[in-house]
């Protein structure tokens, strides 16, 4: 067995710099899967210590690869490694079995130190069938380990993906370390005593694979066994069969001679500040952020939504938490989803709608109404590949301009973007803060990569969370010339320019609002030209004046002439790339935008400080367009719209080239 390295070049890096361990390193090649020594295990087998590993589970859509990956991730999280995940699956629920488009995979990167991405290239591939091998082999560096389910390498499944001869036998995998394991046979053997139908028993082969990998990487197992018993609580026989398959996989690793070495990746103790941690995906963090925002605002949370990939998980999650007073309304369409949310906002709820790009297109008119009504409303867009239906299960950042400008008239809307899966929690609270304080719809732009990816999250104490309470209007706010006290729905707070929020049921403040232009102050219909000009500019000024923190620039040497500026989910790969470039001895500055509208006050000054500004985006340069228009600064736009996140290595090359120019 070879050691687990990503490539000969990276191995050479490690060999040349055995003790190289700067304090702020990340996913740089010099530390790719470096060894940290070895020792024998109680079973007599050799144990090697690694600093990090990237594993990819791949199989048919029906093979349970996402569940397998999730469980391995949970085990890894509870063990205390830092980690980052990349689920990747087709939009079809069950694509044709055994075909390349039907392959579903889950990549997990875990380490004994702080990491930022799911990793560029797997060290280990678990391939449940020929299609999974073929679809993923191109991503594997030479020397990588491949665990294959040999039972599936028969004539038909191989022919389906164009293998004339078995890649396990024709030498085409010589560059890799291949472990042929008859996963199906071994699983069936292990479950013989359960007397399950063959098809049913076969389904547990993913748990066999999970057990094997858990043995290989010394993962704790109690939680997975408990999870299986919870998941199949109604079917105890299935639960026990899965537990048996899981244990059989573990025991197979321990006893078979083919697996002579197991690996330890120590907990990433130094990477984490003290605290209580859990693993969390972006969509779960976002859902929790919304619940927390409702609690912190002391307002009932109301979600109006229509199912759409990859946002539906938020609807599912929130619907589980009715004991927090959360109302979830599955509407007849996207328009009704946001309509109901806006109606609830009028009634005094913290209102949310969740969707993806095509849904935003349908909601645009209602977002415009919310701009005109000046009511708080969160519009959560989990971006996916577009245009049109596009790539529902893949990631992209191409809704930025839609969020900024996708409405009729001058209809400014604040835009907030989380940068990592766990950051979706804080970003949701921040978006709620803006919506409530400024009485405005707010876009929260997550994406498929953040939504489904996961990482460790330090669980905040409730007293760390912001106070989001608002004051409803309860009394008249204006005195007419004749001394009459009246309520003017558009008489603004002089600092925030927010209008009062008077909810139905408040006596004496009865008022009417609508999408027709309103007279400033009174809110009465007005077609007056000067008033319209004033109102358009006032609505814009309100958004422009929203308080957002200044951009912080990370430039440790203070000598950088090049700035890498990103937004949203590219934070991980950009930061990993920046670390690699710095480790090569280059100076480069990094900044990342959470607020896309309004931009931080100091952004123009920051941009002008550098000779070169590189903006990597998963679109065709939408942030670059905004920055050029706003600040008249030339931007080096680097774009990728493959439906997949950036790879740190490729970005590092882009940055180095930008520095060299």
């Amino acid at each position: 067995m070879t050691s687990q390295v990503s490539s000969p070049a990276e191995q050479a890096d490690s060999a040349e710099q055995p003790g190289f361990s700067p304090p702020d390193t990340g996913d740089e090649p010099s530390r790719l899967a470096g060894q940290r020594g070895s020792a024998p295990r109680s079973d007599g087998k050799e144990v090697r210590r690694l600093d990090r590993v990237i594993i990819r589970f791949a199989g048919d859509s029906g093979d349970g690869m996402q569940l397998t990956g999730d469980r391995f991730t949970s085990e890894t999280a509870s063990f205390g490694n830092d980690l980052s995940t990349l689920p990747n699956f087709p939009a079809e629920i069950r694509a044709p079995a055994g075909t390349l488009p039907g392959v579903s995979s889950f990549q997990l990167h875990f380490a004994d130190h702080d990491i930022l991405t799911p990793g560029d290239a797997p060290n280990v591939l678990v391939a449940m069938n020929p299609a999974a091998l073929k679809a993923n082999l191109g991503d594997l560096p030479r020397g990588a380990e491949i665990i294959v389910n040999t039972d599936e390498f028969t004539k038909r499944p191989m022919a389906k993906v164009g293998y004339d001869t078995s890649p396990l036998e024709d030498g085409s995998l010589d560059a890799y370390s291949v472990h042929p394991v008859p996963l199906t046979t071994l699983t069936l053997e292990a479950l013989k005593e359960f007397g399950l139908p063959r098809k049913e028993a076969e389904r547990s082969k993913n748990m066999f694979a999970l057990g094997l990998l858990s043995w290989m990487y010394h993962r704790p197992t109690e939680n997975t066994e408990a999870f299986l018993r919870r998941k199949f609580a109604g079917k105890p026989q299935i639960a026990e069969a899965n537990v048996a398959a899981f244990r059989a996989g573990w025991n197979f690793g321990e006893t078979t001679e083919d697996f002579a070495v197991s690996y330890e990746v120590a907990p990433a103790t130094a990477a984490f500040p003290p605290g209580s941690y859990r693993n969390i995906s972006g969509n779960l963090a976002l859902a929790y952020g919304l619940i927390a925002a409702g609690q912190q605002a002391d307002l009932p949370l109301y979600l109006g939504s229509y199912p759409i990939t990859p946002a539906s998980d938020i609807l599912h999650e929130l619907s589980k938490h009715k004991n927090f007073g959360v109302r979830t309304f599955q509407a007849e369409d996207e328009i009704a989803g946001i309509g109901a949310a806006l109606g609830a906002a009028f009634g005094g709820a913290l209102a949310v709608t969740t969707t993806s790009g095509p849904g935003v297109a349908l909601k645009s008119e209602t977002i415009g109404l919310a701009v005109s009504l000046e009511l708080p409303l969160l519009v959560v867009d989990i971006q996916r590949g577009g245009p049109s239906t596009g790539l529902p299960t893949k990631t992209e950042q191409a809704d930025l301009l839609q969020a900024m400008y996708g409405r009729n008239g001058e209809a400014p809307v604040p835009v907030v973007a989380p940068k990592t899966p766990a950051d979706c929690f804080a970003a949701a609270l921040d978006a709620a803060r803006i919506a409530l304080a400024y009485r405005t719809p707010v876009f929260l732009l997550s994406d498929g990569y953040l939504a489904n990816g996961s990482e460790p999250w330090r669980i905040p104490e409730p007293d760390e969370l912001p106070d989001l309470r608002v004051q409803f209007a309860t009394t008249p706010n204006h005195t007419l010339a004749d001394g009459t006290e009246v309520f003017w729905p558009y008489k603004r707070d002089p600092h925030t320019l927010a209008r009062p929020w008077a909810v139905p049921g408040t006596p004496g403040l009865e008022h009417r609002i609508g999408g027709i232009e309103k007279q400033d102050g009174t809110g009465n219909i007005s077609y007056d030209p000067a008033n319209h000009d004033h109102m358009v500019r006032t609505r814009q000024a309100k958004i422009d004046n929203i308080t957002v923190p200044d951009t912080e620039v990370d430039d440790p040497s203070g000598q950088a002439r090049t700035l890498i500026l990103g937004w949203g989910s590219t934070y991980g790969p950009i930061t990993a790339a920046v670390r690699r470039v710095r480790n090569q001895g280059h100076h480069v500055a990094q900044a990342h935008l959470r607020h896309l509208n309004p931009f931080p006050r100091n952004l123009g000054e920051v941009l002008r400080r550098y000779d070169t500004v590189v903006v990597p985006e998963m679109n065709l340069g939408q942030l670059a367009t905004l920055l050029r228009a706003r600040y008249l600064v030339d931007i080096h736009s680097h774009t990728q719209v493959s439906g997949m996140p950036f790879k740190a290595e490729q970005l590092a090359t882009v940055i180095e080239e930008a520095i060299d120019v």
């Binding site: 009715k322 004991n323 109901a340 009465n524």
Partner: protein, 349 residues
């Protein structure tokens, strides 16, 4: 007080019609049927006895949708077709409000058709007033989804090609628990129907035939003209035989062979077969058959009144019940416990 308004605060003192008039100048065309409906609603609200601040009117786009501006209650003039969706969010989150939707034939049945049918099937506690003038007024006179086939308008100079909706049939097909029809000029009947709608728990759809004197004048003349109306209008009253015509000489009977309804002259032998109107019938079959009696071209044999008024679970109540059940089962939400979840680990400094 009815089940529908059980949670809505009552006015401390008797309110007057004047209390419900806003300070805004009414801007419908002189002679528009909307004036009569506005007056009827403003006149009826004090009898309802609900506190003015707990009443909300939500509208879409169209002439009728200006209605909320003229009511001194809470109100929202929203966007085209979406009022039922917006009102659903309000009504389901605030059960202490009496929520009314004002819409028109274009707003409710064309651009907003989807929201209307889904509000009806959900049975949200909304009162939907559908002003049907069988024409697009605000856009100056195109045919609408209730215009009669072959209608000559600006957009259909050679006549419209599409068969009209019958809003009552549509609502019954959409599982509506309350469906009524009335006429703008019949204040007494209009008020009675509004009262029944207000008392109904769940979604109530009230189709109001409304005259657009500019683009579709006299569209309902057959129902209003003294000479014609007796033959054209079938006044439905729960528990009463369905008879109409001069001296109530006509009646509605069920054809034993087809199960369909038909009009017969009342004679000693037909009199026993005259249907007695049952608005509370569990099955919507007869209500649907009644809604089909009218001739869409001439409007002859148009039933007015409450066609259907049945009780079934109200969406807002069910939603609130689930929240209560969740608290009973899991206890009131504990944010710290939620955020921590099941699998945590601790990093010690």
């Amino acid at each position: 007080m009815s089940e529908a308004l059980k949670l809505v605060p009552k006015a401390d003192t008797r309110q007057s019609m004047k209390d419900f008039k806003s300070d805004q100048e009414v801007r419908w065309c002189p002679g528009c049927g909307d004036y009569a409906i506005l007056a009827a609603v403003q006149g009826f609200m004090p009898d309802l006895g609900v506190a003015r601040e707990n009443i909300v009117f939500v509208s879409g786009i169209g002439c009728s949708s200006r209605f909320p501006y003229y009511m001194n209650t809470y109100g929202m003039h929203s966007i085209h077709g979406r009022a039922p969706a917006i009102a659903t969010g309000l009504a389901t989150s605030r059960r202490d409000l009496s929520v009314w939707v004002v819409t028109g034939d274009g707003d409710a049945l064309s651009i907003g058709g989807n929201h209307l049918i889904h509000a009806l099937r959900r049975n949200v506690n909304l009162k939907i007033l559908l002003f049907n003038n069988r024409i697009y007024g605000l856009t100056k006179g195109q045919y609408s989804p209730t215009s009669e086939l072959g209608k000559i308008t600006k957009s259909t100079p050679m006549g419209s090609l599409d068969a009209p909706f019958n809003p009552v049939s549509l609502a019954l097909g959409a599982e509506a628990s309350f469906v009524a029809r009335t006429i703008d000029s019949d204040r007494k009947h209009l008020t009675q129907v509004l009262r029944a709608a207000a008392d109904h728990p769940g979604t109530a759809l009230v189709e109001i035939y409304q005259n657009c004197n500019i683009y579709n004048d006299n569209a309902f003349e057959a129902l209003k003209d003294r000479d014609q109306a007796q033959e054209a209008v079938i006044r439905l009253e729960h528990g009463q035989p369905i008879r109409f015509g001069t001296d109530l000489s006509k009646g509605v009977v069920r054809n034993a062979a087809t199960g369909d309804l038909e009009v017969v002259d009342v004679t000693p032998e037909t009199e026993s077969r005259i249907l007695v109107h049952d608005a509370h019938a569990a099955s919507p079959t007869t209500a649907f058959a009644l809604s089909r009696l009218a001739d869409p071209q001439t409007l002859h044999r148009t039933p007015i009144g409450v066609l259907r008024d049945v009780e079934r679970p109200v969406y807002d109540t069910l939603m609130a019940d689930q929240l209560e059940t969740a608290v009973e089962q899991k206890g009131k939400g504990d944010l710290s416990a939620l955020l921590a979840g099941n699998d945590t680990w601790t990093v010690v400094g």
